[in-house]
């Protein structure tokens, strides 16, 4: 397979904050670290975000290779097509998660060559020693992707950690079931530690784990507080930047670096707020990115929104932390680190349940939208339906319908394309839709006048 024209590298997106601009090099270094680890023989684990085992991996000094991240990089560099096609020629349907397809295509290719595919973005993704999937309930690719990858790297063992959270049901409270959820997760995490010890030769340092668990709690609190600063008018930072600052949240949790990053960002935002410096000079519309992973190859669309005076003070995507002091239990009292992690996990996912219960016909996901609309003074909602991932992209229409029913009619726009498959995207069309949406915002906004 040859690419006759070099994939057109996209112009660098302008960020509003200095902190966000630092992310690119950080990610590049992260990829380089994995490649370096491979050279030095340090154990490498393929891992997924949002699986709450960050501290475990870090405490055992295992190098995480975030496979979703690497696929996202290929997408952002507009160089994913060849890996997607490769996966398709292996027999994977193009309708499956394109992160997974990109990763599988890459793995198949790397294994066939015995070296990195030609011109692999940022040096490529190193072969792992173990793969940490997760069973239930976030998404199917979390347990199928690595299993499928074994077809190309059959010697690399996979572990699937069971990580459920209680569903939101009308006829019982999640507290009735949370104990057995926590118990299960703890046992699964224990199983993970044993698996890692068995396959990497590393031993768990339980004291270090406790420290990292504490660091993570503090980081969560700090992130939450930092993001809350974006309520300011004008808002100092938008979702475009947040698609960068998600990196320390989802790929660097349980490291001092992540904590320090948010410390800096926090200061920068405070400074901007004091000076009334907004994401755009003249803020006209405050929008919420209300669902969906971004189209990584089209982050410039955020700048296009900005050019129309629209800002994004808040997003639901990648806001995978809450302030732990807002939970209804005192996490600091839970000394067993695994139990601590399990409770934090369950409390995070059930965080909006009580609020939702108070409003008839509500649902936690919708309740969160309502809360953000009010807290961040939101005029409209933008969502992105990426065709290849069901987890974050099914239920968007329904959430908007529900919102309308139980709260109010708020302008909304659902963009359709994909996370890395650029063939699903058409810039002219997308911008035409954005233009029309801005018009509807204007219409609704001026209604009262």
């Amino acid at each position: 397979m040859t690419e006759e024209k070099k994939p057109e590298e996209k112009k660098k997106r302008k960020t509003a904050t200095e902190a966000a601009a630092k992310i690119g090099p950080m990610v590049k270094a992260m990829i380089a670290d994995v490649l370096q680890a491979r050279k030095e023989g340090k154990p490498i684990a393929y891992t997924f975000i949002c699986c709450c085992y960050d501290e475990i991996v870090r405490a055992m000094d295992i190098v995480p290779a975030w496979t979703e991240n690497y696929a996202g990089i290929c997408g952002a560099k507009r160089d994913a097509q060849r890996f997607l096609e490769r996966a398709e020629s292996e027999g994977f349907s193009r309708s499956l998660c394109t992160y997974a397809l990109c990763g599988l295509g890459f793995d198949a290719w790397r294994e066939q060559l015995g070296e990195m595919p030609p011109d692999a973005p940022w040096g490529g993704q190193a072969r792992p020693d173990v793969m940490l999937g997760s069973g239930q309930i976030l998404c199917d690719p979390r347990n199928k992707w690595y299993q499928a990858a074994q077809h190309y790297i059959p010697d690399v063992p996979v572990y699937a950690v069971g990580l459920p959270w209680p569903p939101y049901e009308s006829d019982y409270d999640y507290r009735e079931v949370q104990d057995y959820y926590v118990k299960y997760i703890v046992e699964e995490l224990r199983g993970l530690v044993a698996f890692l010890e068995r396959h990497t030769g590393r031993k768990m340092d339980w004291d270090r784990l406790s420290e990292l668990v504490d660091l993570t709690d503090r980081t969560w609190n700090l992130i939450w507080e930092t993001y809350e600063l974006r309520r300011a008018i004008p808002s100092p930072m938008g979702t475009g930047d947040a698609m960068n600052t998600m990196v320390p949240i989802v790929f660097m949790m349980a490291t001092q670096q992540a904590y320090d990053f948010f410390k800096e960002l926090n200061e920068e935002l405070r400074h901007k707020i004091a000076n009334k410096e907004g994401e755009v000079p003249d803020e006209k519309y405050r929008l919420m990115w209300g669902g969906g992973l971004p189209a990584w190859f089209a982050l410039n669309d955020f700048n296009y929104f900005n050019s129309k005076g629209a800002v994004f003070p808040v997003e639901t995507t990648y806001r995978t932390v809450e302030a732990v002091y807002n939970f209804d239990i005192d996490l600091s009292k839970i000394s067993d680190p695994l139990e601590h992690i399990a409770w934090r996990w369950v409390k995070f996912w059930t965080y909006w349940y009580d609020k939702a219960r108070k409003r008839p016909g509500s649902h936690p996901d919708v309740e969160r939208l309502i809360q953000y609309i009010e807290d961040y003074k939101i005029d409209g909602i933008v969502m992105h339906e990426a065709f290849s991932c069901r987890t974050w992209h099914v239920g968007l229409i329904w959430q908007l319908n529900r919102l309308k029913k139980i709260y109010r009619d708020i302008p909304s726009l659902i963009l359709e394309s994909d996370i890395v498959d650029i063939s699903s995207y058409n810039e002219a069309d997308t911008r035409a839709r954005i233009d029309a949406f801005i018009d509807t915002l204007e219409a609704v906004k001026s209604k009262g006048k």
């Binding site: 229409i397 319908n401 009619d409 302008p411 909304s412 058409n426 069309d429 035409a432 839709r433 233009d435 029309a436 949406f437 018009d439 509807t440 204007e442 219409a443 609704v444 001026s446 209604k447």
Partner: protein, 264 residues
């Protein structure tokens, strides 16, 4: 007196509307052809001639549509949705939902009592969901576009179509004709297929009465009836549905011109 113009360079047809004192004094519709810039000039000139005016008499021109960038003499380009909403509102002040079936897209939108679009949906990028689909079929059936509506209403024995692709629908239509199917039955089937796509969009947006149908597709009475049937409601259709976006553009031009005048 202020004269204003709206120019809509659509994917299939271009339209120009000239207004004065909130009334349409002339309009022109012509196929967009290949050269948008040229078409824009011609269609505007055509309308101006009818109005016995020339371009310099016009205070403000707003362009819209697929080829809006090709109207060098316009002061500004405005999105189709906004223009359509304004046009629909002018014609039918009670309309709260509108469907526009154009050459390239089908649009469904809601509008408020001032004629502003407050929500909208666009069809996917496939000819199977647009007016273009009917043009293609009209051509193979060798029927004039303007006759397909009436003809389709005569159908007693609809042929159901199961293809999604406009190009394949074309060859399927050919096969059906060869098998002896009547043209009206084929048209009725195609109208039904398109109406189903429109219905799905309308249901997603949620219909609020009254509902208007505009765009070239509204000239096709067969399609209008078919959509009415699937939505189970009456649709408001203007006499000249194709110029609604141009009309809206002219109305917006009027507001701008008035604003300028006021500020002087």
């Amino acid at each position: 007196m202020i004269h204003i113009a709206g120019v809509d360079i659509g994917s299939a047809f271009s339209k120009a509307v000239i207004m004065a004192e909130n009334k349409i004094i002339a309009y022109q519709v012509k196929p967009s052809g290949g050269n948008y810039r040229l078409t824009a000039e011609q269609v505007t000139k055509g309308a101006l001639t009818k109005a016995k005016l020339s371009l310099k008499d016009i205070d403000y021109v707003v362009a819209t549509g697929y080829g809006a960038a090709n109207v060098p003499f316009s002061r500004e380009a405005v999105s189709d949705i906004s223009c359509l909403a304004r046009g629909v509102h002018y014609l039918f002040p009670t309309a709260r939902t509108a469907i526009d079936i154009g050459g390239q897209f089908t649009r469904v939108f809601k509008l408020d009592k001032r004629g502003r679009a407050t929500a909208f949906l666009l069809s996917e990028k496939c000819a199977a969901g647009s007016g273009r689909f009917l043009q293609v079929i009209a051509k193979v059936l060798q029927i004039d576009l303007k006759d397909i509506g009436e003809l389709s209403l005569k159908s007693r024995n609809r042929v159901d179509f199961n293809t999604g692709c406009a190009v394949f629908a074309e060859s399927e239509a050919i096969s059906r004709i060869a098998e002896g199917a009547a043209k009206e039955d084929i048209l009725a089937g195609l109208h039904r297929a398109l109406a189903a796509k429109v219905q799905a969009m309308v249901e997603r947006l949620g219909i609020e009465p009254d509902c208007a149908l505009v765009g070239g597709g509204a000239k096709d009475i067969g399609l209008v009836r078919s959509i009415e049937e699937s939505l189970a409601c009456r649709l408001l259709t203007p006499d000249e549905p194709q110029i609604v976006a141009a009309l809206g553009a002219a109305l917006i031009a009027g507001e701008k011109a008035a604003a300028i005048k006021a500020s002087r």
